[in-house]
């Protein structure tokens, strides 16, 4: 029995992935564990391994977008089985087509019932097919505007125009780090209406993925933002000690590391903030996986990614510090894999390290329920007892989904976090080195 190659669910939000490149030819022998297909989902790539050794039969061509859980290929155990799989396709001179009929059906258990038999078919007019073929464009990557989503002539013309604007975009996955640069492909200055356009930035790739995720968040969440400051007088002393012993710890502890460490502890103490509203349930997650927003490009204009530190509550500060360094470096190099980009349950965004601002209204990364923004650390006069003294103050902004967590509960979480931030977690003492 041939083994099915099924598109895995990459990340919590990704429902559609792009099949960027088949790594083995139709009819080629593949060994179990070999990469047979590269998949791109939103901001990351995934290398699909062969589940068994055998002969590859490709069902979906590369370059197309497809739903997760779709069968995109088969691995036959032997030549006979392969021959049986490909029988009746001999006259298909154009090679594999977009997934059709039963092969494209949603395999998800309990998924939408009563879907039309045509679901998954790509409708395109003859001229659209012809133009796309001539231009080397995959119809699956073009959105149709005709009846039933039919791809028409002008849709292909527009896709060709878009490609002209960003020639690096058609195969972004071979070099993920190329995507952001492609977004800034300068074009000749041209007149658009009466306004002079200096440059056109394609709203595509990562830019579009971020944009759509942000809009989706604002469309489905009830965001409420609370802000304040942490007095880091005590934490600063700890950090001073840690930095002095950087070489012995093997990592330079940053305030961001300390915040993630503290947030993980606070989430463990206040699990409701570590949850997602899914369907008719609020699911409080068994793991605390903290996403850390990493801006790309020196000026932060090349997009952002959110790698995830898994089980952060079970990690020591040093482990967290090493993880953030590693993930940050790989994010900037475009080397993050799917597992590191998915499964977050809460996000920390440290805009203070880049800029000058204190407070913001962070946008929740769905389906999470909360995000903590950290502003610029600054010495400020504070009132302590009857006196005024100078203290290093760290501004924070927490956005929580009011559908899940009410204001009072969010305050409770912030109280827990404030206690950890200002008095430090007891386990930090173990790190103190003299």
């Amino acid at each position: 029995m041939a083994e099915e190659l099924i598109v895995p669910k990459l990340g919590m939000a990704a429902a559609v992935v792009t099949l960027t490149a088949w790594k083995a030819q139709e009819g080629a022998r593949v060994e179990k564990g070999d990469t047979v297909l590269d998949i791109e989902a939103e901001k990351t790539t995934f290398e699909m391994p062969a589940p068994i050794s055998g002969i590859l039969h490709i069902l979906a061509p590369q370059g197309v977008e497809t739903d997760v859980n779709t069968v995109v290929g088969l691995i036959a155990l032997n030549e006979e089985e392969y021959a049986a799989l490909t029988a009746g396709e001999a006259d298909d001179a154009d090679g594999p087509q977009a997934p059709q009929g039963a092969l494209a059906q949603d395999m998800q258990a309990g998924a939408e019932t009563g879907e039309e038999a045509d679901a998954g078919r790509t409708f395109a007019t003859p001229i659209a097919r012809r133009l796309a073929k001539e231009a080397g464009l995959d119809l699956g990557a073009i959105a149709g505007t005709g009846p039933r989503g039919r791809i028409q002539r002008d849709d292909v013309h527009k896709a060709i125009e878009r490609r002209k604007l960003s020639p690096a975009l058609p195969s972004p996955v071979s070099a993920p780090e190329g995507v952001p640069t492609a977004m800034y492909t300068p074009v000749a200055e041209k007149e658009a209406g009466e306004r002079r356009v200096r440059e056109t930035i394609p709203y595509a790739g990562m830019r579009k993925a971020i944009g759509e995720n942000m809009m989706r968040s604002l469309a489905i969440n009830a965001p409420n933002t609370m802000s304040g400051d942490y007095d880091l007088t005590i934490m600063a002393k700890y950090r001073e000690n840690f930095v002095q012993h950087e070489s012995r710890l093997g990592t330079r502890i940053t305030y961001a590391d300390l915040v993630i460490h503290a947030v993980a502890k606070a989430l463990a103490a206040f699990p409701l903030m570590n949850s997602s509203l899914i369907g008719s349930e609020i699911r409080i997650w068994g793991e605390i996986n903290i996403g850390m927003a990493v801006a790309l490009g020196d000026d932060g204009t090349r997009g952002l990614v959110v790698p995830v530190i898994r089980n952060a509550d079970k990690m020591t500060l040093v482990e967290i510090s090493k993880a953030t360094k590693d993930l940050g470096k790989r994010a900037r190099e475009g080397r993050l894999g799917a597992p590191e980009m998915s499964g977050g349950t809460f996000t920390v965004t440290n805009f203070g390290s880049l800029g000058v601002s204190s407070y913001s209204t962070p946008i929740i990364n769905p389906p999470e329920s909360g995000i903590l923004g950290i502003g610029r650390l600054q010495k400020k006069p504070i009132v302590r007892g009857e006196g005024i003294l100078i203290a290093p103050m760290l501004p924070y902004s927490l956005t929580h989904d009011h559908r899940v967590i009410d204001g009072a509960a969010a305050e409770k979480f912030l109280g827990v976090l404030k206690d950890i931030m200002e008095n430090t977690s007891a386990d930090l003492n173990e790190l103190i080195l003299f």
């Binding site: 007019t125 003859p126 001229i127 659209a128 097919r129 012809r130 005709g146 028409q152 002539r153 002008d154």
Partner: protein
């Protein structure tokens, strides 16, 4: 080349005179030709006499059958049953006319023209309003001419009379009084050469006879809304210049066929099919067709049965996914009130 404005009837009349003067074998025979019910035989009897202008009575099959015999014996008969609708009794003879040359190994020529009027929009009732083009197209061996302009009418009639095969020549009653420019040279127009009556880029309309005029009027209105329509007149349906049509469809990617015959198994269906056969890879929309609905035209219901300008405009706007455009063009004013 001097050009002047003349009506289609006037031009058909002078063309007949020219051809009968040019070739003494040309004979005119049919219903009410001496009295000239339609007008294009005005003065022919007086000029050419009873041996070349023959009144037959209401015997369509007989006149066509006689025409075949005359043609096979070296004459060039023009058979006139007055209206295309009246031809049905002559279909027996017409099928013979189409086949005889082939049945005799090409040894027989049948240089016969069946020249008559067709078309509605005049409130003349069911038996005087038909455009049975597809019935003629379905008979092998017959050529079919359907002119839309005065100059085409003249040039195609000359070619029809000079052709050695049986030719059916239908001219539209609503065009008889339409005036147009006529070239002063011989002006014979070859069969199977379509004419692009209006150039455009968005939609190709293939239209025949009076529908060409309606389509040109609609195209003018749509142009004001930024929709560019190309109007192609095949001029002869047999032979059909599919190449010109296909070339246009390859440019516009959208096609509409407008014809006055009944829509089922009609001219639109045939041309749409040929477009699909020759230009499938260039189509961006399913080909549309407009024709007469499947019930009979009559004084009071012509506008519900026959193609209407608004219908044509709606088909075009739907092909380009544009909003509806009100064209306010009226088809079918009585020619008596010209």
């Amino acid at each position: 080349m001097v050009r002047q404005q003349r009506s289609m009837l006037e031009v058909l009349n002078t063309t007949l005179v020219e051809e009968m003067e040019r070739d003494p074998k040309v004979v005119y025979m049919g219903e009410c030709v001496v009295g000239s019910a339609m007008g294009m035989t005005q003065g022919l009897y007086e000029k050419f006499g009873p041996s070349r202008v023959i009144e037959t009575g209401l015997v369509e099959n007989t006149m066509v059958a006689a025409g075949i015999g005359m043609a096979e014996r070296g004459y060039r008969p023009i058979i006139d049953p007055m209206m295309a609708d009246f031809l049905t009794p002559a279909y027996a003879a017409m099928t013979v006319a189409g086949k005889n040359r082939f049945m005799h190994g090409g040894k027989l020529n049948i240089p016969m023209v069946i020249l008559t009027t067709m078309g509605g929009y005049l409130g003349l009732g069911a038996e005087h309003s038909g455009c049975p083009e597809s019935q003629i197209m379905h008979m092998p061996g017959l050529k079919l001419v359907v002119p839309s302009t005065v100059n085409d009418a003249r040039g195609l009639l000359k070619t029809a009379i000079r052709d050695n095969n049986p030719v059916v020549y239908f001219f539209h009653k609503r065009l008889m009084r339409e005036k147009g420019e006529v070239s002063e040279d011989d002006g014979a127009i070859p069969f199977g050469v379509a004419d692009i009556k209006r150039e455009g880029t968005d939609v190709t309309i293939v239209a025949t006879a009076y529908q060409v005029k309606l389509c040109l009027d609609v195209a003018e209105k749509l142009a004001a809304k930024g929709i560019s329509v190309e109007v192609i007149d095949p001029r002869t349906l047999v032979p059909l210049d599919i190449e010109t049509i296909v070339k246009s469809v390859k440019k516009t990617n959208r096609a509409l066929v407008v014809d006055e015959d009944y829509i089922t198994c009609g001219v639109g269906g045939e041309i749409a099919m040929q477009i699909m056969e020759h230009a499938f890879d260039y189509l961006d929309e399913p080909v549309k067709r407009i024709g007469a609905k499947g019930w009979v035209p009559a004084t009071s219901v012509d506008r519900f049965v026959l193609p209407q300008p608004q219908e044509i405009a709606d088909a075009v706007t739907s092909l380009v996914h544009a909003d509806r455009v009100e064209v306010n063009i009226q088809a079918g004013k009585s020619f008596a009130r010209r």
